[in-house]
Amino acid sequence: MNGPSLEATPQQQRALERFYYYEARLLDNRQYQQWLALVSPEIRYLMPSRVNVMVDNRARGKEEMISVDRELEGPDSLGCPIREEGYIHLMVRAERAFKINSWSENPPARTRRIVGNVELVGQRGEELSVLSNFHLYYARPGGESCVYSGQRRDVLSPAEQGYTIEKREVIMDYANIEVPTLGLLF
């Protein structure tokens, strides 16, 4: 993504932010079943792994030399992304929170996320490409608290409740992974 975002109308921008705030509230309130209703049955939910790559000498002095995307082993690569999931994965993740024998959710973590930098960056027919950033504070009884930081690259389609998430790619800002799990719903 290069250049400024599309010129969204104030209504469009407001609708996107309203949707993301609602989604964040559902996730922080552990209303995962309601959250699942925001997700397309065909969703692609991706998290590339992040690699320390060699400097490409030919790119020296240019922005591409240190571009974020060079560090990502994504779904098209022959590396190994952290997550390549569909609806069934998200359903399993959502449902296990409601089982008393899901030991890593029991007692559940306390989370609070701030979503911002919402930018409409593309539009194809009714589908919108939207970027957003998040900081997520995570505190789990018996473990250390931590902060997750990342970017979401979404494809949304219009729906009754605002939008449906058709695709989400989560770019995590980690060097070594020092959080208890990257398996949360971001």
Partner: protein, 426 residues
């Protein structure tokens, strides 16, 4: 504290201090990691001259590279001048490793090539003796590259011994062998390095309990009914199911019960059946019927056959581990199939894995329990199935049911003996 006080004779009792004591950890470095063959990487990651990957031998950073001579070289990633790492990338291809501090540069084999400052001094240093510290023994078996800091260590083949029988049940199934995908997922966990190892060495018994939200009881019953645990030598172990003769191909074939087989579509399923249809001619009848679960290679390499992932538990002190894991796929599978098969690892294991998020949490909690005071008269009980393992007519090693914790007792007997061998030495 004496090592003999940590693990009793038959290793049915294991002290909490084995997991948490800083002095014990120093003994582990000298008694185990200084002397054992340690996994460095797979040849599929370094096919061409100049290719390299990062590795660790305990806490010591190592570069594993394919030299311009085509050979394998393992160099300690620390400049001979001031000790900085000379390589920062996870993997890549290069002619030189260059220290950022004063630009001493090294060949990919680890030889010192240039000292920029030497032209300004009269006495020229002898560059021939100032290369990167070399790992003195490097060897490869089936593409798996290991290194050892003890020049006098036995051969890698002897070290692996009969574990090769079980590893080949997987490796030799595929005409082109296997391939490691991408950079490892590197994950810091506040746990002792031995618990991930023990978990993957033979502990399938926690499945129906810790993972009961995901693994149904019936699936675990089937594992236990058909399951075996084998120890080929203390510290090396395998658990697997031996499917009945004549079982349908879809029940025996590797991968069919994973994400690829379940959701990968007809192309992936056909590929998996095709591999299984040649399994008996490639690895023999009994190994063709094997469906592996967990494997462990002493001291800290694990292989999770069921989700095809290799893992290394790199210690970072008694209470911290840097856990590395890779997805592994058949090398000659089409790229589209490799991409499907790797999700059988990443869906369940690795840093976002639905199962591993439960494992890693208990590993952290076990360390906390091992680090408490006033409970040293309650060592951990490792006596389940004591003495119930026995030789098997067709399977190498000692063999038993999966509930028998002999895999862990053997590990701790070897661990104790190797620590005792260096105890009192400086």
């Amino acid at each position: 504290m004496r090592v003999s006080e940590l693990v009793n004779e038959d290793a049915s009792l294991v002290s909490r201090r084995c997991w948490s004591d800083a002095g014990v950890y120093e003994l582990e470095k000298r008694g185990i990691f200084r002397r054992a063959w340690l996994f460095l990487g797979h040849e599929s990651q370094i096919r061409n001259p100049g290719d390299f990957v990062q590795a660790y031998m305990c806490e010591t950073p190592v570069i594993l590279a394919r030299g311009m001579d085509g050979g394998l070289h393992a160099s300690v990633n620390s400049c001979t001048h001031r000790g900085l790492p000379v390589c920062r990338a996870d993997h890549g291809n290069t002619k030189r490793f260059i220290c950022p501090y004063h630009n001493w540069s090294y060949s990919v084999e680890g030889n010192l090539v240039t000292i920029p400052q030497e032209s300004a001094v009269a006495n020229k240093p002898d560059k021939a003796v100032l290369g990167l510290k070399q790992v003195p023994r490097v060897a490869s078996w089936r593409g798996m590259v290991f290194g050892c800091f003890d020049e006098n260590v036995e051969s890698l083949e002897d070290y692996l011994g009969d574990m090769r029988f079980y590893l080949d049940a997987f490796f030799e199934r595929f005409p082109g062998g296997i391939e490691f995908l991408g950079a490892p997922h590197r994950w810091v966990i506040n746990a002792n390095w031995k618990l991930p190892v023990e978990n993957q060495l033979g502990d399938v018994n926690h499945g129906a309990f810790l993972h009961s939200a995901i693994i149904p009881r019936e699936a675990q019953d089937l594992i236990e009914e058909l399951g075996f645990s084998a120890v080929t030598r203390a510290g090396h172990g395998a658990t697997f199911r031996l499917m009945p003769q004549g079982a349908p191909v879809d029940e025996v074939a590797w991968g069919m019960e994973g994400m690829g087989g379940m959701f990968g579509g007809a192309e992936v399923q056909e590929y998996l059946r095709e591999i299984q249809s040649h399994a008996a001619e490639r690895v023999g009848d009994i190994r063709a019927r094997m469906k592996g679960l967990t494997y462990g290679i002493y001291p800290n390499l694990s292989f999770l056959w069921s989700n095809t992932s290799f893992k290394v538990s790199h210690p970072r002190g008694p209470g911290k581990v840097e856990y590395w894991s890779w997805a592994v796929v058949p090398a000659d599978a089409p790229d589209s199939i490799k991409r499907v098969l790797r999700t059988n690892y990443s869906s369940f294991f690795g840093p976002a894995g639905i199962l591993e998020q439960e494992d890693s949490e208990v590993w952290v909690q076990q360390f906390q329990g091992s680090n408490i005071d006033f409970a040293d008269d309650r060592p951990y009980y490792y006596g389940l199935g004591l003495g119930e393992e026995a030789p098997h007519p067709e399977l190498p090693g000692l063999v038993s049911v999966t509930a028998n914790e002999f895999y862990a007792r053997h590990f701790f007997r070897r661990w104790r003996d190797e620590l005792q061998a260096v105890e009192g030495q400086s």
